[in-house]
Structure formats: C-alpha cells, structure tokens
Symmetry: C2
Subunit: 444 residues, 2 copies
Amino acid sequence: MKITRLATTAPDFDDSLQTLLHWSEDTDAGIEQAVAGILAEVRAHGDAAVLARTAQFDGVQAASVTELEIPRADLQAAFEGLPADQRLALTTASERVRRYHKAQAEACCQGFEFTDAQGNRLGQQVTPLDRVGIYVPGGKAAYPSSVLMNAIPALVAGVPEIIMVVPTPARRDGSSQGSRGERNPLVLAAAYLAGVHRVFTIGGAQAVGALAYGTATIPRVDKITGPGNAYVAAAKRRVFGQVGIDMIAGPSEILVLADGTVDPSWVAMDLFSQAEHDELAQSILLCPDAAYIDAVAAAMERLLPEMPRAAVIRASLEGRGGLIHTRSMEEACDISNRIAPEHLEVSAAQPRQWLPHLRHAGAIFLGAYASESLGDYCAGPNHVLPTSGTARFSSPLGVYDFVKRSSLIDISAQGAQALGPVADTLAQGEGLQAHARSATMRLA
Amino acid sequence: MKITRLATTAPDFDDSLQTLLHWSEDTDAGIEQAVAGILAEVRAHGDAAVLARTAQFDGVQAASVTELEIPRADLQAAFEGLPADQRLALTTASERVRRYHKAQAEACCQGFEFTDAQGNRLGQQVTPLDRVGIYVPGGKAAYPSSVLMNAIPALVAGVPEIIMVVPTPARRDGSSQGSRGERNPLVLAAAYLAGVHRVFTIGGAQAVGALAYGTATIPRVDKITGPGNAYVAAAKRRVFGQVGIDMIAGPSEILVLADGTVDPSWVAMDLFSQAEHDELAQSILLCPDAAYIDAVAAAMERLLPEMPRAAVIRASLEGRGGLIHTRSMEEACDISNRIAPEHLEVSAAQPRQWLPHLRHAGAIFLGAYASESLGDYCAGPNHVLPTSGTARFSSPLGVYDFVKRSSLIDISAQGAQALGPVADTLAQGEGLQAHARSATMRLA
C-alpha cells in the first residue's frame, strides 16, 4: 500500500500538508439546477410534486402521501422483529446517547436571569424548536446509528414533534415495485426506539422541500438535520433561512496522535475504520517515533487482506491517507490544531497530558481503549461532527442545535430613568431620533 | 398615514397576514457575479487585490495594506476626543453589555464531564475561537453600538484576537481623497472601548475575502460577524464553510403586543423607532382593544411631523406596517408566535403573564418601560437578533457563537469490554467491518 509519508523536518512540509488536506466540494451546476426545479415544484404543488418525484426517482408508486407514511405500529414491529443482540445493542446505544445529551443540556442549555441595581431584570429564555425534520439516507449508506444521533438530542431538547424522512427505493429487479420500496428494519427500529413521531418514506430534494415548505400531508418543520447525497445537500443549502439546517458534512476524517505506546495494530485498524467509509475519507497518523510509524504501516499491510472492504480502504489510504513523522508530541498537537480534525484519537500513555494543547477537534478520543468506532455507535457523545477543518468554528450536533434563545429585557421605572439618557446620547450619535425619543419619553 | 389594518375575525385574515409579512431577499445575479470575482481575486492576489478594490470602491489610495490599519493609539485618541456625554454613554453601554454576556457565558458555555459505571469519562470541552473578524459598515449606517454588540460577546468568550474591518470611503467632494477616507470617531472609540485588537479601513466583498482567506497583512479569521450591504452579505454566504458566519439579517422588525394599558404615544414612538431604520423595516401592533389601536394611530399622526426621519417612517409604516385587532391577548400571543418577530414588546400591565405563551422571538421586552431602544443600546442583551421569522430556529448573537465544543471520550479498559460488543453488532449491521474489528480487537 502506498500511503503518503511526510516529515515535519522536510523544507516543503507545509506545502505537502496542504496538498494532502486539500478537498474541494464540487458544486455541480446540473445538480443545482435540478434541485432548484424540484424545490419550486414542491413549493407550488405540495403532495402532488412529492408523489411524482418519488415515483420517478425511487420507483415507488403511491396514490397519496399518506400511503408513504409508516405507521408507528410498523416501526414497533421492526424493532421487535430484530435479533436479540441487535435489539440489545440499539437499546444500549440509545440509552447511553440519551444520558450524555441530558448532561449536555444541563451544561449548555439553561436559561438565566439576573436583577441589576436599578431593578431591571435581564436574562434569556431557552425554548425547544416546535418541529424538526430528520433526513435519513436510504440504500447502501442507511445508518441506524444516525437516526439515534439526530433524533435523541432533539428529543432531549424537548422538541415535541420529529418528522423523519427516509427514501425506500424499489429494488432494481422490480420485486418491490409499488407503494413500498425496500425498508431497512434497523433504521425503522432505531426510529421507534428513539421516539421519532412520524416517518415518511420519501427522500431527495423533494423530501427536503416538503419539510421546509410543508405540504397538505407533511407538516413544515423549523430545522432539517441529517446527512444525504449531493442532491440533499444542495436542497438543504437552498432552503436554509426558510428553515434551519445542520452543517453540510464533507468527507469523514480521523487523525491519530500517537506517542508509540499503543499496539500498532489497534491504530492501524482505527485508521482503516475511517478509510472504509469511502474513497474520500481521510486517515492521518501523527507520531514522533519513526519506528512506530513503520510498525503501524506493517500492521496495515498485514491486516488489509482480512478486510471485506479492502478495496475502499486501500483507495482511501492511498489517495488521501498520511503518515506524518513529527519532531515531538507538542509539534504533533500543533499540526492537529492546524488540521482541526473531525475525529482525534490521542493514542498515548498519558492522553490527558496533551488535552490542554488541543484546541480544535470535533471529538477527542483519549487513550488506547477509546477507539473511534465506540464513539460512532455507543459511547454516548454525538457522531455528527464538524468536518474539513470546520471544527475551528463549529461543534458536534447537540441539544444546543434544537433549542433557541430569546433575550428577556424587563426594565423598571427607575431603570428607564438611568438608561434613557444613555440610549438618547447613543441614538443621537447614530442619527436615529425616534430611538432617542422612545427612550426620553419614558423619563419622569 | 395609511397603515394596513387587519382584524383576526376577518375570513381572509390568514392570507392578509401572510401578504403583510411577505419579504423575499433579492438575489441579484450581478452582485453575485461581482462578488465571486472579487473573492477569487483576493484569494489569488491577497493584499494587492484588497488595495486595488479599496481604491476603486472607496476612493482610498494606499501603497500597502499596512497603511490601512488604524493604530491603537488612534482608536484611543478617538475615544478620548469624544464629548463627555458620549464617552459616558459608550462606557455605560459597554459595561452593561459585558456584564450580561458574562452571565450568559456562565449559563450556556460550560464544559462538562461525567464518569459512568464502567469508569468511562464522557464530556465536552468548550474553547474559544482563535480569531474573529467583525465587519462594521461605513457611511450612513455606521453604528458604534454594533461594534460593542459584536466584539464584546467574542471577548467574553475568550477569543484572543479580534480583527475589525470598516470601510472609510473618501468624501464625494474629494477633500478626503488619499490614504484616509472618512472615519467615524464613535465607531473607533467603540472599538477601543470594547478591546478590539486590530482595525483595518477596508470594506465590501474584498474585506470579507481578506478575513476569510487571509493576506500577507490581514490574518485569516475563523468566523466573520457583523452587518453589511448586499455585497457583504453575498460575500459572507460564499465564504461560509471556509469560515463561520453569523446569520444574514433581513429587514428589522418590531411587534408590539398591547393590552391597552400603556400610554399610546409610547407605543407609537416604539413603532416609529423600528420604522425609521429603513423603508423595509416592519412595525406591527397586535391588540384586542380597538379603541386603543385608534389611540395609537392618532398618536402616530400627531408625532410623525416632529420626527426628522418622518419620510422613512411614513414609507416603512405605509408599506410594511400593520395594526392588527385580535380577539384576545391569547390570540395575539399565537399570532406573535407565527410571526416569530425579531423584537417583541409586551406592552401590558402584567407582562410576565404572557411570557409562557411566547415561544418564538429574538428579544422579549417586558412592560411599559422596556422600550426597544434601551435594548438596542444599553440594557445589556445583544441587539443582533434573528429576523424574518428565523427566531423559530435561531438565537440572538451571543457568547455561544464565539466558542465551539469538542466531545471528550475517555474509555476505560473495562468500558471497552462492555461497549465493544455493542459497537460490533451495530457496525456489522451497517456493513462496516473495520469499525467492528476496531472495537473487538480491544476485547480481552
């Protein structure tokens, strides 16, 4: 396997690193135009447009959008029909994710109010969104874990209604042609377990449009979250402002910061676990120990043939992977901050020693046992994380994404006397005399 | 003055309300194209492009971008040169805004960590952004209060470097042609007082590009906030993803919910204070008392001639204002939630009685003395608020906009044994075998 090797001592290291990291999202004019057309159609014709596009793209014929809703009893049946180990795994994951997000809500989503010396009461009220839409991809990238990770923070936030959309394209062989496409029982079970309120088997830009504008059957939501293909991403960008959206994700990334004390085959497999997502996924190792880097590379060669997704892993690692030899762990931390990775594993004997040096990352995995895959499924924290360096300024999906805040401004008669002249002076300075007058009118 | 009057009892009320609220942002293809060109230029040519565009658009000639930086001593001089009342007003406002945002940081920006039964430690680390850019418009809409409202939350968040850009276009008569355009001393004083680190006299798409990509002289930032014209808004949309941005604001709005107990001339002036911003600003009164609505209308007729900005106020109120007669205060609250206004004044004898009914608003002003203008300048809460109904899903600018969160996932040896099988099952269910293996490798 030919993985890019870099050393920070090389004179052209900065350029090489930039080349390795480079990724630019294609904005395809054809997709943009198609999506604009579909959204306009859904806005104008509602259910009829959704039905027509679902028949066209998913091969699913239905007489009404109501037929495309999955009754809650079917979700429950999907859950109860799962093998016991899957049921237990989903339940364990769901409980852990819920517990974590409850702790998060305590820490970050509290309102406040204080009273100042003039008796003014100032604060902020935190309220959940009224209704949220969750997009869940169908087909090969149908991830039940994503259902939990999107729905649970919204439910913990107190959102009273969650509408999930998931396309169920008909099988190519035509065997599922009709009003039912192919449904993924794990996805439906996850929706049941999380407590999603309604599920429609629609997808693509038409589903995003239906959630953003509302139709006769599908209620308009206030925010749409969840991953999707290029059409879904383009549609989410276009409806932003009409509704809230989460971040549009780029390729998934892992960065392992290794001090050379952890079994190299564990690190090799962690790099694989990112690489197996798709060919654009990025796996990078930063380590000050050249012999250890060789050991990880050797473990990768040894383990690759055992992997069912070996072809994707190889393509991803050869195309976008990197093994970077650093002068020190401190320097490795600096480079990690520059990259601001989605997933950061601190694979070190004393991992917390490095935490104060690490400023930017979606999730930080500490120690030999904290493999990214535990975080992806069941540790508790959210697996929807900022990609492509956006951890410099954005955060994991969380309860805070499903609430909003209103400032509370309660001014006493005394407060109006004290603040009126201040507002008057500043408003006059900005040439806004009605603002000034509105303050001075209230002076005794 | 001809202001739209509606009554909720009218059969076509819903349609009329929708017509009143309708506002669509023009996306001007010419502006889009110009902005794309300027951004590409700044990305490719850095300082040189910034200088060329600043000369072209602002009439300011400079040999280097360094010449366009205002030294901190000049900011201090601007502050010290202000009349005493302006200095005091700015200082009072700044202290109150700082105090409020410190309370906000306590309530919403704390990290957390807990340990579960298996000894896993899970939590979240909250860290400030490294560097933030603040856009401050020059010319007629130069608002020193905006400098405070954008800079102070960032500083309270712990952002170590704030770069402000403010265009200083040369006077039309050519008297300020050269390397210095027209500077607004209140804006510079506010920057000094807030503690902005560096100020460059550049503006437009070229300033947004410089902040997003960095140039030899202007450092790249992680987030850009602050209002601007259509070019600035288009540029911010385009660089989003490369850097974070705040919401793109629509026209400003006030909604007054009145029970008829407050002096009608106070409410009239509050409606004016919104209307005087520009012709697209929206002022709406909701009230169950028809006689009181008449009294407010009469007060407006009486007060309008006294207002220096009477022409703007009239155009705004006649074009987009509304006086809405409701069946009850409860119904008024429902309509307010549907509108999700930027500013909501509860002009009532017992304003807190209505608070539990109010779900969506940028800022809620409680009681007769809480005029919007106090909130705009000096009450303490932020005056950058969600517009055009986006309070359904978004929040005032706050300390939370200048921090980001990293999940912390610290798994014990025991935890890996408990969680490994769960991750294994779910990963197999998703067809991701390297994820599964990465978890099972760590089983004893």
